[in-house]
Structures are given as C-alpha cells and as structure tokens.
Amino acid sequence: MEDLSLHILDIVENSTMAGATLVMIHILEDQEKNVLQISIEDNGRGMDPEMLRKVRDPFVTTRTTRSVGLGLSLLEQAAEETGGDLKIISSRGLGTTVKATFQADHIDRKPMGDIGSTLTALIAGNPDADFVYRGYLNNEEMELDTRELRAELGPDVPMNDPAVLKFIRGLFKKQGNS
C-alpha cells in the first residue's frame, strides 16, 4: 500500500464484508505529542476470541477466494515501522474496532494520501451502509456523515447517485485534504 488512505479503504472493506451497516473512521493528528491515530469502528458481525487471536497472521482469512489475508498484517507493519502499534478490539455480534497508532514525523510513516477518494470508493461500493468520517489533520478539521446526507436527501436518493458522489469528491478537493 502506497499510503494510509489505501490502508483505510482496505480495512473498511473488511467491515462492509462483515455486514457492517455503520463504519466510523476517525483520524487524529496530535502534533504536540507527535502521534497520528487512525481508528475504524464498525458494527459488523465481529470476531470470536479464537479468530481475534489469529487475525494478524497473514495466513489467516475468512474468505474462500484465496487463503491469505494481508490487510490487517500490512497495516500493523506500517504502524510498527514508525514505532507505533495496532490494536484490535472485537466481540462476536457487536463489531470490531481497529486502532493504528503512528509516530507522526517518523521517516517511515506513510503519507495520508487521498481520503476523499477512499470515502468516495467506499460509498459508491456500499451505498446501503453508512459512513462517518472525522478527521483532524494539519490543523484542519473535516467531517462527513452519510446519515445526515440520507436524512436530508430523502429515501429516494441512493448514496451512489453520481450527483452525491460528485459532491463528496468536491468537498474534499475544496478542503485541500486530498
């Protein structure tokens, strides 16, 4: 993965595959503490303790199309390369939270990349799920909640309508956050 926004896209795809209807993505950069934290919280089907113990192993996956599962292992590696770590909290039936912590100014810390592009791809691919994004990066705050969009636009407008996606893309471009 070239940047952190691609890792986020990958991990959130896990969430939607696990049946999540709501995924909350938080990014917080604390320049004083020199810490960058990414947390992804979903209400998917979660993992039992046995799976949770094994899930960082790249040769463990629930999918059947191939026998390796690299997503979490790659994110853990990206975090550990900066002296940070990856925490996974999960319970069966309740959901999973993945928290990656990075040393913000570490030379091996991957750039954030294009969050707007990640969110657009997620919303286009999973129009029935809701996504909440809260980011605090470079002293700039950014927030997007598809539940608000849905409430305002009404039930007849799907989230993958081209006009909605175009708007979301534009929102992030305008902020220079991409």
Binding site: L9, R66, L70, S117, A124, E141, N160, D161, A163
Partner: protein, 127 residues
C-alpha cells in the same frame, strides 16, 4: 470548516432534479471495480477515480459504478467487470488508467468490448 452545510445539501438536491435515480436494475451499464487488498495494492482506487472523472465528464446517468472484493485472481489486478444490459459480463485484467479510459469510451459508451484487455473469451474456466 470542512463539514456538510445546509446550503451544500440544497445544492445536491438542486443538481438531482431531473436526473434519473440509479436504482438497482434501472441502469444500462454496471461497472464493478475489484477492491480486495490485492486490487487496492495494485491501484484499483486510481482506476475508480479515472472512471468517476470520465463518468462526470460524460454526463451519462445510466451507468452505475460499484466495487467488490477479491475475485481470487490477485496476480491480474487491477481488474474490473463491465455488465452491459442484455450482454454477457466481461472481466478486464491488468488495468491502468489509460486502458480503463479506452474501455469506457469503446465498451461502456459504444457497447464495443475491448477484447485485448479482457480476461478470456469463451474459455471454460478463468484460472
């Protein structure tokens, strides 16, 4: 700051007027970009971005763009599947932005599949 504002939402509502809603089954073409870990690492999001931009420029409102997971052909990523209504779906492999734009112009807009980039034509198995 970067938050949805009421006037933003009004603007979307305005731009939706008169457009056809792309509900499942109402579209002419469905494009699926494969977004497993393998696809993402190989550049699937760039493919998606290129398609979004082309789609916006074309003004077409009968095309749906969506994603799926790993198809088990990780060495051929980035991949996408084009389903034109009443035609067999076609899987394209080893894509880059240039190839995707050609597929958009020829297959998606003019229903003329780009055979050179397709996974296979008429074979029994895909791998």
């Amino acid at each position: 700051m970067g938050k949805l504002k009421v006037e933003d939402l009004k603007r979307i509502k305005e731009s939706l007027k008169g457009t056809v809603n792309l509900r499942e089954g109402q579209h002419r073409v469905k494009i699926t970009v494969h977004m497993g870990t393998c696809g993402i690492a190989a550049g699937a999001r760039k493919i998606m971005d290129a398609l979004f931009t082309r789609l916006e420029d074309s003004g077409a409102n009968d095309i749906i763009l969506t994603t799926s997971g790993c198809a088990g052909l990780c060495n051929h990523e980035p991949m996408l599947t084009v389903e034109v209504k009443d035609s067999a779906p076609i899987k394209y492999i080893n894509l880059d932005e240039e190839k995707v734009l050609k597929i958009f112009d020829e297959h998606i807009m003019n229903n003329n599949p780009v055979v050179d980039y397709a996974l296979s034509l008429g074979s029994e198995t895909t791998y």
